[in-house]
């Protein structure tokens, strides 16, 4: 069977569609923020207004700089997903935070506004550990 090659760039197009969907669906109630187990690890979130933080996150999705509180929340998001069942509007706040993190880390072309761990050895380290434990045939056939 001959396959047609999938077009490049579909992921970034998907992210833009998702951002638009979230911007339309979210009512800024702040329940996702209230459910998050990580907010205590960001000092700038102490006493923060949940609705205002979420508004800042939506600002990041809209291409704005993002408030310090929103950037603080994006910095400590570890994909717990506790926000998902807390959302009354089926926004999928975990997706909202993923796209906010991608954007704030400069992943979609804008400036970097949150810390990012640059690990230049990441893939070489994976290959090196593999070399220590897999046979030559396995390295050739499995990777």
């Amino acid at each position: 069977m001959t396959r047609t090659a999938m077009p490049t760039g579909a992921m970034q197009a998907f992210l833009r569609r998702e951002a638009d969907r979230i911007l339309t669906a979210c009512t800024r109630c702040g329940k996702c923020f209230e459910a998050c187990p990580m907010t205590r690890y960001a000092p700038q979130l102490s006493g923060a207004d949940p609705k205002a933080v979420v508004t800042g996150i939506l600002g990041i999705l809209s291409g704005e700089d993002g408030s310090p509180e929103a950037l603080g929340w994006a910095s400590v998001c570890v994909r717990s997903g506790s926000c998902v069942p807390a959302c009354p509007d089926a926004v999928d706040p975990r997706m909202m935070m993923r796209i906010a993190r991608m954007t704030a880390s400069g992943g979609l072309g804008g400036p970097r506004r949150i810390p990012v761990r640059d690990d230049r050895d990441y893939f070489d380290r994976v290959r090196a550990f593999a070399k220590l434990q897999l046979s030559e045939d396995e390295l050739r056939d499995w990777m």
Partner: protein, 284 residues
């Protein structure tokens, strides 16, 4: 062989050749024809959060390769790969295969699996859980159920689940990582558990240092299944963690030459000597 699958083991589990080999043996015993695929050339791209152009290319490449292999099901080892395929890659591109998480496959086949678990593994264990990913795959219930198939294993009832989807994410929030380690150690003592058992490889990498530094035995669940099945693979990563600064000698000159001594010292040794954070009070 009853079914042909792709066993998508991911990237970082390549630190644990014994886990990859054991998974393949287990699948083989279950009659599954598993074609292994992983490493950087099959990356899901989730690690490239700060470079979505690269992540996009990786996603497209991996979905394309799997489509070309023509197998109906991809069985993922890594929760990050699984979640990224479900939430992003499979939404953006056009996978021509189903996706299953390994724990789910083992759970589906648990009656057959139980027949191979012949050797007793007398351990009272605390399962290290996370709140993330469990909404996609019910690992926090299914993994203990699998462990209870092993003769001699006693899984303690415990309701702690760390934030995040695995410890990889906590590495970016050091205070949360410390809290997780402290809570894990506290609960091991509370339950008088013999060992901690992780679901994910990345948590195992973070917690295996409890063995040399806190005298708490640590395993991944595959280690216990493999022990009970009598599989022969040695957990070299644990041996290297125990050796710490002496890991180079444990690896041996010949193998070190394959990766380069300078690279080993710069990029690999630091994680082998690293202690789990939060074990001492003066760490804050």
């Amino acid at each position: 062989m009853s079914e042909k699958i792709i066993f998508w083991y991911g990237c970082n589990v390549l630190r644990h050749g014994d886990i990859v080999h054991s998974c393949l043996d287990i699948l083989r015993r279950l009659g599954v024809d598993a074609r292994p695929a992983g490493g950087p050339d099959y990356c899901c791209g989730s690690v490239k959060e700060a470079n979505q152009a690269a992540a996009d290319g990786m996603a497209r490449r991996t979905v394309t390769k799997f489509n070309e292999m023509g197998r109906e099901r991809v069985v993922a080892w890594c929760p990050s790969c699984h979640a990224h395929m479900t939430g992003f890659m499979g939404q953006a591109y056009e996978p021509e295969f189903g996706l299953t998480y390994l724990v789910d496959l083992l759970y589906e086949r648990r009656a057959e699996l139980a027949a191979f678990l012949e050797r007793a593994v007398p351990l009272r264990v605390l399962v290290h859980k996370h709140v993330g990913f469990n909404d996609k795959v019910a690992v926090n219930d299914r993994l203990p159920a699998l462990l209870r198939l092993i003769p001699g294993v006693d899984v303690v009832e415990d309701d702690y689940a760390a934030p995040g989807y695995m410890c990889a994410s906590l590495a970016a929030v050091p205070a949360a990582m410390k809290d997780m380690v402290r809570e894990t150690v506290r609960r091991v003592a509370l339950h008088r558990a013999d060992a901690v058992v992780t679901i994910y490889h990345q948590c195992y990498r973070e917690l295996v240092g409890l063995e040399p530094h806190a005298n708490i035995r640590t395993f991944n669940y595959i280690h216990l299944l493999a022990q009970s099945m009598g599989l022969p693979y040695e957990d070299e990563y644990k041996a290297w963690k125990k050796a710490g600064a002496g890991a180079a000698a444990a690896i041996g000159d010949k193998r070190l030459e394959q990766v380069g001594v300078q690279f080993f010292e710069r990029a690999m040794l630091p994680e082998l000597v690293k202690r789990p954070p939060g074990l001492t009070k003066d760490e804050g």
